[in-house]
Symmetry: C2
Subunit: 363 residues, 2 copies
């Protein structure tokens, strides 16, 4: 069923998207303000269930690209992603019938809504990551045969680059990252243009709805002084992300963070409240793996989410600070994200991690 997304959805959606951002994906706060402004100017956004998209539709996903640490400092106008969409449309010689997230976590849950409102397009309730990932080849779209190229990159001064690396999505990422760095570390993009039939075959369905559901569950539990994490676990059981595990509770003891080659990389450590256990998280924009006392407790593509211990507010990697009291949770991912083909593209080895993938619910 399609639905109308209004201003009232945005706070819950942003909070849920930050959870699905697993520490990265860019802070949805800025995105939320952009969507709010666009909806005030252009009215609510129609969110299309993927089952309702015509097989022949031309869906052009849109997103922001860059290191979250830079996004913090360069607020977009909201027009950049529309510029990228228009550049790709011009290249394709065809007009999009809808846009869609490539990434439902973080700011990229919001950017397609800005595009949808500004360009008068519906947005498809699905994405290609089912969370946030740092690189553009890490998409179920690509895993299941849709090429990212041609893609358009747009900068804040209206500059565009249309990149075509053929079927090599990692090469496309490499070139687009180079352009993004030269644009100051953040850019907006349109890529993985596809038919409605391809959306149904390759996208993780209903992840905008999921983000809203996650954010709403946390808020509702807070409002009735219930445990937000426990409530979120209950609510997730009826989704494709059925398993939530509390991995750790404690205080942040160390954060090491650097921006290199266009990414925010580093690690965070925490100590349990009783001082007996240690947590270590490695990240590349997003949290990649959580180890407790040296043992893997959750690893990509499953979600490692850091929440503040009291309110379960998600904490991004660039907001992690010494002394924060945190709850770290693991959330299972849909089967489409755990196939051997998918793990080859965004499993632990794709990030240079030495760990085998094991589903969080089996650890």
């Amino acid at each position: 069923m399609s639905w109308q997304l209004t201003e009232e959805h945005l706070t819950d959606l942003a909070r849920g998207a930050a959870v699905l951002g697993t520490g990265g994906g860019g802070d949805p706060y800025v995105g939320r303000l952009l969507v709010q402004q666009a909806i005030r100017e252009s009215g609510p956004v129609t969110v299309l269930d993927p089952s309702e998209v015509d097989d022949e539709a031309l869906v052009i996903p849109t997103a922001q690209m860059g290191a979250p640490t830079v996004v913090h400092e360069k607020i977009p106008s909201g027009e950049e992603a529309v510029t990228a969409l228009r550049a790709l449309e011009a290249h394709l010689g065809a007009e999009a019938t809808a846009t869609m997230p490539i990434e439902c976590g973080g700011i990229n849950s919001m950017i397609p809504l800005v595009v949808a409102a500004r360009a008068g397009l519906p947005v498809v309730d699905a994405d290609g990551m089912g969370r946030a990932f740092p690189e553009l080849q890490m998409e179920t779209f690509g895993v299941y045969g849709v090429t990212g190229s041609p893609m358009a990159v747009a900068g804040e001064r209206g500059e565009t680059a249309v990149i075509d690396a053929g079927a090599d999505n990692a090469r496309m990422e490499w070139l687009a990252r180079g352009v993004t760095i030269r644009l100051g570390g953040v850019a907006h993009i349109a890529e993985y243009s596809m038919s409605g039939a391809e959306v149904k075959r390759t996208a993780i369905p209903r992840t905008l709805t999921l983000a809203h559901t996650v954010g709403k569950a946390i808020r509702e539990a807070r409002e009735r002084n219930a445990d937000p994490v426990a409530h979120l676990g209950e609510v997730l059981k009826s989704t494709l992300y059925g398993h939530l595990r509390v991995l750790f509770r404690g205080k942040v003891s160390d954060v090491e963070r650097r921006t290199e080659a266009g990414f925010a990389r580093g690690r965070a450590a925490a100590v349990s409240f009783d001082g007996e256990h240690e947590l270590e998280i490695e990240f590349q924009n997003e949290n990649l793996v959580a180890l407790v006392d040296g043992e893997v407790r959750c690893v990509v593509p499953d979600l490692v989410c850091v929440l503040d211990a009291e309110q379960a507010e998600p904490i991004t990697t660039e907001s992690l600070r010494y002394g924060q009291r945190i709850t770290v949770i693991g959330i299972s991912t849909p089967e489409l994200m755990r196939t051997p083909e998918a793990l080859a593209v965004f499993g632990p080895a794709a990030f240079g991690l030495p760990h085998e993938f094991r589903p969080v619910e089996d650890i």
Copy 2:
């Protein structure tokens, strides 16, 4: 008058282009082999005098982009620049009626000939630098109002990027350089697409002919045991490059060279044969300024050319070696390259040099 360029022209043309390359522009030797192969496969290339180009013609210049130090190690197949041309044609929705050099010095005198032979197009006898320069905004095309964007960049695996930075040619250079670095330090490009009327207004005319003339003058003097530099000076008097000055004769005493941000930068020093005078040359891909005993003797856009002392064979910056016996000459440039608008784009200040431009013939 249009003329047919055959294999027989190539050795002289390459030598002359290396002189006009002023130490950079890429070694035309590799380019010569590529043209030779293309002519053997496809026949001679028609060289159009700019006065003969239809005002409505679509001329798309082609070139190689990258640090000469890298070009040395990555030999192109010859197809890359055609790929760039085709990508720009597709973007423009129009077919080129001719190609043209953007740069008559170094390998970029040759690349458009490869394109011309392979694509069955004529090449216009003109260019936008009148020599070699390291950056894409340093074009008389841009100085006199033709925008470089949209431009196409092609890599060795057939990847393409079409960059549009609007009227900001320096921004276009910045983005294209980022792509080129990610492509391994060398790429092929098509840019500054223009009408025949714009060619006549903005290009330095007959610079392919000039390169051939320069190379031929040096060879002919050698064949009759005359002084090649003196003979070249005589021959140049009847061209737009009317003044040749011998700036220095001596031995290379030091070379400092580094590849950074996609450029070969550095400086070379030499000592006169009598040990009484010192030469210093600064370069960014190309030689920018020659100082003798600390005094400027020739500075961009005028040409600083390093020749071997015996045969007057041009020496590129990446071939400079300790102990080489050299003659350094300065050559004046056409008035179109010395206007205030032109000097703002490729005069000394554009390279961060503290020197005022003074014509080499007046120093």
